[in-house]
Amino acid sequence: MNEIKPPRIVERAPEGDEWIPSTCNLCYGTCSILVHKVDGVAVKIEGNPKSTVGKGRLCGKGVSGLMTHYDPNRVRVPMRRTNPEKGIGIDPGWEEISWDEALDEIAGRLKKIRAEDPRKLSIQRTTTVYTMGLPWAAFAPGFGTTNVSEGGGGLHCGNSAHQVSGLLHASWGVLPDFQYCNYALYFGASKGHAAGHNSNSNMGQAADARERGMKMVVIDPMCNFAAAKANEWVPIRVGTDAALALAMCNVLANELGTLDIPYLKAKTNGPYLIGPDGTYVRDIETNEPLVWDTKDSIAKPHNVADSEDMALEGEFEVNGVTCQPSFILLKEHLKKYTPEYAEEITTVPAENIRRLTAEFAKEARIGSTIVIDGVTLPYRPAAAIAFRGLQGHRNATFNFLAVLLLNQLVGAADVVGSCHGFNSAFDGIPETGRMGYQPKAGPDGLMEVGTWMAYDPPYPRPEPKKPEEMGLQDLFVMGMTSPFFNSKEGEELWEKLDMPYRPEMLINYGANIMMSIANKDLIAESLKKLDFIASFDLFMNETSDFVDIILPDRGYLGCYNTRPNSPYIFSHPAGMGDWSWAIQQPVVEPEGKERIFADVLIDLAERADFLSDMNAAFNAVFDLRGENRLQGDKKYSYEEICDADLKNNFGDERGLEFFKKEGVISWPKTPEEVYWRPFTDARVPIYWEWMPELGKKIQAISGPAGLDVPMEYYSALVDYLPCASHECDHDNFDFYTFYYRDTLHTNSFTMENAWLDEAAQLDPYSYNIAMNTQSGLKRGLEDGDLIQLETAKGRKVKGRVHLTQAIHPEGLGIAALCGHWAKGMPVAEGKGIFYNELLELDWENVNPVNLTLDLCSKVKVSRVEEN
């Protein structure tokens, strides 16, 4: 037995045996947990049964948190690089420094930049600990920079999923109403079967639904996770979901004719009259879009006529122009998407497309109602949902809209059993009514979200203008996380649009930028241009090669968070049941010199003289009122700010101390909150009238600067548009790669967790490239062979192939984001495939509307000889 080094002796006061309530953050699902601490050491993590978030149970990651917390490879002290040369794999020559030295240097640079132009500072955050990172929402505005972004998360994750879910369902994403849904169509999503928002709670709800008899049809290139549990797996060529969804919409509208006419009249902009130029015909006085009142056979503003009398079809003369209701334009437009056309593109047989659509139409039970807790509601127990897998393509926006359109045609939107936004409406915290939100009608009667993840909701949209943000989101106004932070085009545009400043300094919070966006060389270039990078991290990862000062973070078992599940549209279970409000609190002492990052930010604000601004930002972010507001430039500890936030929302007797003991409080949801759509007088856009005009406005600014906007993406009617990979037809480039989120891993950091890594090594898919057995045998490959994938641009990755029947013959399924090469993560190093190495980060591969990155690529496969 080789000699085992004793663990570092950390004096632990024998504090006996207690279970401490807090919140898991190995992913942003933020399930409520209880941590068993014995004599100062955390020895078990379990779910907190008092909370509806997880209901006392955790997924595989949640229970494995200890091996990340106590990983000996954790960064434990502040360090400064001594080797000025930066590059992949070049040793930065770390030397330990004190917190004071680190903060003085960072604060000095902040002061200089803030004097010149605070926007020279950009901030990059990991999505993993999204809600725990709330203090950044105060630090950045306090300092004065608007250049804030999620490391790859948004770009890969859900730019379009979030935007379109916001426009149509007033929430961050959509789900089937598991409790009542009888027929769920999954397009490129796992919802309740692998990872993502509320994955743990969704698993329970989806399992209940499956046992109750909900039929699941999963459209996915791979039969893993959701498709494995489905009643029917519909294999599909990668990235062609929109063609299938539009063909199904066509069958619904033009073959079966099973439409929820009252819904389309009252809840969509279907009745709005569209003139020859494709825009609304507007009332001369009120400028409101006009509709045709069939009772009085005259055009009236939408907010004057009764929806019941509005025409959805026909042609009319209004204000001297001939016009038609937008619905008929959509209905006609859909006709070109015949099932036969879709079969050609998607490889899904036409008769399956017709059968599935007929099943969906029948299960939707158009016209039926149901009584829930005494409230009569529309009953549409069928849902078509989608998420990251579907929208990870250049046609992201339309891909997502095409799927959600299926629900709109049968009225299955935010009612019982239907497609749901997560928690789009909330009455507020009992007794104080704080934090409540309700979707409502905005300009032109179209729906505005009740609440949003940030402060630029999807509607109403600002006007595109000459950009002053590095990500150019003030020009691409429907964009969210942006490629222009790191892409070459971004720099060229800053130049040509004479951006008043250039990025000089980056502060990173846990994001592994080198692995989470695209190929590593390109990202390395963009990082090397920055003068100074400071980074809060758990481990020294691939990005650390470019960092100047690394600061040790306490991690989720050592941090405060008063809003782990807020806003409820992000990480709280949907559907009927309870609301829960939990907190996150430090559970164990640090193993080294780690500090709570929020207090570090407050220190920095003090040293760089913007503490009063940061306090004002905290007041704004937490919406603190009365004596809970932070005063002037007084220095608060983050613990005090948390106490103020909780008292502000829950009253003085329920501050931090109350929640530290209680952990979580819950109260019941009402049917009106969960099934809010009939109670909200607002319409959703199924005809995106503003798009052509918006495209032209953007082109007017970006065109002269050398970036042309492809107008087919800015059309008012939803279309299938191929990705670059579909048009790559070099010979023997015959596989489409796609990546999916493994249930065992979160983004790129849990591969270092020894338990999760061990489980992933045993999993047939986690660290392998899944290939169809027949496709593999045809190429003389055997299960376990080492193969190489190469894109047309010459990007290469290697990995072990796993031959399986459970994948489309042209698909290569890879779990992301593995393939570490950093020495600071020895367990993770060399495990799995660095998928993003295959990706380019340029305008041809970015969705021109929401700036989502196209994640599929066409590759050539070859076996790697091993001696």
Binding site: E758, Q761, L762, P764, P826
Partner: protein
């Protein structure tokens, strides 16, 4: 950082058919040596006793000691070896332990009682008789228990055929003969016609071959994919070298050819070679069949082939 054996375990757990390495690699190899030595010793003692070859008995006793030692090395906690006496009611391994214990004690008493250096007990005394009986009981137990250990291992389908115990008995006898032949050869004695040892050896070898063929045929026809996988590993896989080289060539072809006397007259040295080759053949027979053990994969019933 990760130990090679741990990586091997992970790869094994990933593969559909997982080879058993518990009694094959690392300290597990000593289990094979132990079973081999104890088997030969048991046969050796009985046959030597029957043919009255004192040398054979001494050699067998030494082999048994070595076998016992090997078994101890196989144990991860040898200091608790005596616990293995407890569950003789159900455990074949425990019965084997008792067998070896009886044999060791019996053999010792037997030697002490009639050794040339005139121990007080003298031949024919009750102690010597007790020793003799104990040793016989011990070696019979050692000979018979071993096959049942494998038959009882439900996790390895290849071993579960009922022929296994008979096969191990046959091994023991063949080993015994080989020990006798070896001791005679070492004494430089020519093999007298009367002993018929060689004929007996050929007969037992034939029995072993028949049992082997039956067992392999049984496994193949049983339709049990796992057993077939073991045989595949044995005849065409990772253990083919040991099987063809060790068991067939050295253990069968060489001695058989030599016994015909065509190559060379049955001189003492040839006898020694025959004996040794036979023993080596037995070793590789056990070595390859034990290492060929493959775990029954855990599968849903309707998927189990």
């Amino acid at each position: 950082m990760t130990s090679a054996r741990y990586d091997q375990l992970i790869n094994d757990l990933k593969s559909e058919y997982r080879p058993q390495r518990e009694w094959a690699e690392g300290r597990g190899a000593f289990l094979i040596y132990g079973h081999f030595l104890v088997g030969v010793a048991a046969g050796g003692w009985l046959l030597s006793r029957y043919f009255g070859s004192f040398d054979g008995m001494v050699l067998s006793y030494l082999l048994a000691c070595l076998g016992g030692l090997a078994h101890l090395v196989n144990l991860a906690r040898p200091e608790r070896a005596l616990n293995m006496m407890l569950r003789y009611k159900t455990s074949w391994v425990s019965r084997g332990f008792w067998g070896l214990t009886f044999f060791m004690i019996g053999g010792l008493l037997y030697f002490l009682s009639r050794s040339e250096f005139g121990a007080p007990l003298g031949e024919g005394s009750r102690i010597s008789a007790a020793g003799d009986i104990l040793a016989i009981i011990g070696s019979l137990t050692m000979m018979c228990y071993m096959g049942f250990v494998y038959t009882a291992s439900k996790g390895i389908p290849f071993w579960n055929s009922t022929l296994h115990p008979v096969l191990y008995i046959a091994y023991a006898i063949r080993g015994g003969i080989a020990v006798l032949v070896l001791t005679l050869a070492l004494r430089g004695q020519e093999l007298g016609g009367e002993s018929g040892l060689l004929e007996l050896w050929i007969g037992v070898t034939a029995v072993v071959i028949v049992l082997w063929v039956l067992e392999i045929q049984g496994a193949v026809s049983s339709g049990d994919e796992t057993a077939k996988r073991s045989i595949n590993d044995l005849l065409a896989g990772r253990l083919a070298v040991y099987f063809y080289g060790g068991t067939l060539l050295i253990g069968l072809v060489v001695p058989l050819v030599l016994t015909t006397g065509t190559i060379a007259p049955l001189s003492a040295s040839i006898l020694a070679v025959i004996g040794l080759a036979s023993i080596i053949g037995d070793f590789f027979m056990k070595y390859s069949s034990i290492k060929a053990g493959v775990y029954l994969p855990v599968r849903l019933p309707h998927l189990h082939r």
